[in-house]
């Protein structure tokens, strides 16, 4: 695998993710596929940790996703493990893949003293190559010895595939006067599309949240974060987002996701999820520009999102932006092909502050020069108003460049 240039949007440093009560972790070089780098991360959550998860909607999911979906439903009074490897996705390896999943879980259960069927597993990397479980299992004794409350940045590095930088975010929220911390890491760069992506994201908090409430909150907030990003419209077989809450902060527990005391927590959590999601798009394979697509005036929120994704996934729109061409004609095309209610003559289109088109034609005071100048920006904001209703949505994507072709015509992923 070649070395690709780092994303122009890569943050200068990885944020400082402090230790979080109730969680320990370690990484190792299991040698699944990559040499000279870590490719295995184990996260241990103390007994009493609540777990929520959202998995890929791809109908040919990997064996680890099948396993983890079941594990999510298994209640336990003991600690929980999350085990993630990079290098192979362990997808479509038939019985070998299923055996590898079971062997990994059993091996971990023996070493870490947890129930095998409660363990969350994820694998990311090439499809079609079964995981050799022994490579992971052989590392578990050392990992057990290494478990530490610190290590979020190392974790973010161990789960990378074509990512050009590790991705993390952290924030503090307040639940009824009690301060709680949220840490998150993510990986993903290609095969990124709703619903989800080859995207793994792990978010941990010391807040105390009842499991069904935690699940409801996660399911709601992925819609405006991980499910609002697309690099190439392709949906991975391995996508996983987990949210773990250890409860060590000792805040009061509520039995509804709509409890007013949880408002701040949800807002801050949404910020963390969105931060991670945008880091993924901004590390999109080969990108030179980050694109926000805002759609308003649609007949519904769902219709607005579908139109936004039609624009964000259009190769012609994405290549035009790569070429710094304010080609709103292709945006009209993408609106029209979405199959959602739209009327050409009510459509307005902006690029950043510039109104390009309205009432079915080019805006009277728009000049190609002003559009061309705006397109030089690294961050492009496409705004479309349909003039039909109050439905709104925002989605995020990147341009389509030679770099994407370079990466995907020679990386076996």
């Amino acid at each position: 695998m070649a070395n690709y240039p780092q994303s122009p949007f890569a943050p200068e440093t990885f944020p400082v993710l402090p230790a979080l009560a109730g969680f320990t972790m370690a990484t190792a070089e299991a040698g699944v596929r990559y040499k000279g780098r870590t490719d295995l991360w184990v996260l241990r959550a103390d007994a009493g940790t609540a777990l929520a998860g959202v998995y890929t909607k791809n109908l040919c999911p990997g064996a680890p996703v099948d396993w983890s979906r079941k594990a999510l439903a298994v209640e336990t009074n003991g600690p929980r493990l999350v085990i993630v490897n990079s290098g192979t996705a362990n997808v479509f390896g038939g019985q070998k893949s299923r055996d590898a999943v079971q062997d990994t879980a059993k091996g971990a259960a023996a070493v870490f003293g947890v129930e095998a069927e409660t363990i969350q597993l994820a694998s990311t990397g090439v499809i079609g190559v079964p995981l050799e479980a022994s490579k992971l299992v052989d590392c578990f004794p050392d990992i057990l010895a290494d478990l530490d409350a610190d290590g979020w940045e190392s974790a973010a590095r161990a789960i990378m595939t074509t990512d050009t930088h590790p991705k993390g975010a952290t924030a503090i929220a307040n639940i009824d006067g009690v301060e709680v911390r949220i840490n998150g890491i993510a990986k993903g760069s290609g095969m990124i599309a709703p619903d989800m992506a080859t995207m793994l994201a792990y978010i941990a908090t010391d807040a105390a949240i009842a499991p069904p409430v935690l699940q409801a909150i996660l399911s709601e907030l992925v819609e405006t974060s991980f499910n609002a990003i697309t690099v190439d419209s392709d949906t991975s077989t391995s996508d996983t987002t987990l949210l773990l809450a250890s409860g060590k902060a000792g805040n009061p527990v509520y039995d509804s996701p709509n409890a007013p005391e949880l408002e701040n927590f949800k807002t801050v959590l949404e910020g963390v999820l969105k931060d991670l999601a945008l880091q993924i798009v901004k590390d999109g394979e080969g990108l030179t520009k980050f694109i926000t697509v805002s759609v308003s005036g649609a007949v519904s929120k769902a219709s607005a999102k579908k139109i936004g994704l039609s624009i964000a996934n259009s190769p012609l729109v994405k290549t035009a932006i790569a070429g710094e061409d304010a080609n709103w004609g292709r945006i009209v095309m993408a609106v029209g092909k979405a199959g959602e209610p739209a009327e050409r003559d009510k459509l307005s289109i902006w690029m950043g502050p510039h109104l390009l088109a309205e009432s079915g034609e080019v805006a009277s005071d728009y000049t190609e020069d002003s559009g061309a100048a705006y397109m030089k920006n690294a961050e492009i904001h496409i705004r479309v108003d349909l003039g039909l209703g109050v439905g709104e949505a925002e989605v995020y994507t990147c341009d389509l460049t030679h770099g994407y072709i370079d990466i995907n015509a020679d990386y076996r992923s």
Copy 2:
């Protein structure tokens, strides 16, 4: 507009399309956008010609499509005109676009002596630039003088945009012992996706076919031809396919598209449509490989087609093929993301004669070497069997290469 290398699949010569009783035509250099080449074609069909049409499903269609849809429904006892220009699509030009359409039709009506509201108009090229009707109208007197039964190749050239070669096909069919001829031309290279594309196709025959029967036949046969091709999943605002039947061959007329006497005509016509459709894909922007995707074992024909298009539109599948990588993992991904019934462990995947994967894992006697050797071919055949039902479909596409980025990051289309 730069000069791009000719498609490796370009035919050596344009086929000889003989004159067809009932049709005359001419081309001109109207100077809409291009210099030093023809960009206007007028086809005149004698009184009594039956007309069928299929237009883009894009919900923001061009003014010419709006006009022509209406014109299709207008019956006439007089001759009909088809007027096509390249250089601008006359889409999203607001009132100016609508005026241009009307002015073109009225100008042509006066010169050619036909009813304006029966004229079929099409424009292809950049979106957002209104057509200057006077440029076309000024050419009409010369075109009237030049009308000739020959000129199909010139016509195919005049309607090109990013096409690297003109596209034509011809064939002879037999209706109840009477020989009839079918000629067709087409253009299209990018923004090619079902339903249709920036794709124009004009098919003419001297057969006698009742208008409703002609429409039924065309609507049926576009499904396996023009609606089974995709270059980049983007659907143009201007797509148009017309089928004109002059009736001069004097064959018997039937009142059902299912008349057994029409079987041969339909088969031959399907061949012409498919020939033209594949010429369009094989001239896909920047392509190096032509890809056929055959899906079988789906729960229905529609499901098979949706899965086929999911594979054919996947940027990761298309870049893998550009890189000559038999990456069946990405095909699994594309099957799964289609949202249609699929079971990972019943899936089989072939590349040409090579069985790559079956029962949810790599085929036991498949070797990467045999796959790699096959991928060197210019024509790649992906075959997927879902093992669920009897639904089958075949779709056609091309790979995604640096050439596509080159063309679309700097061509204002």
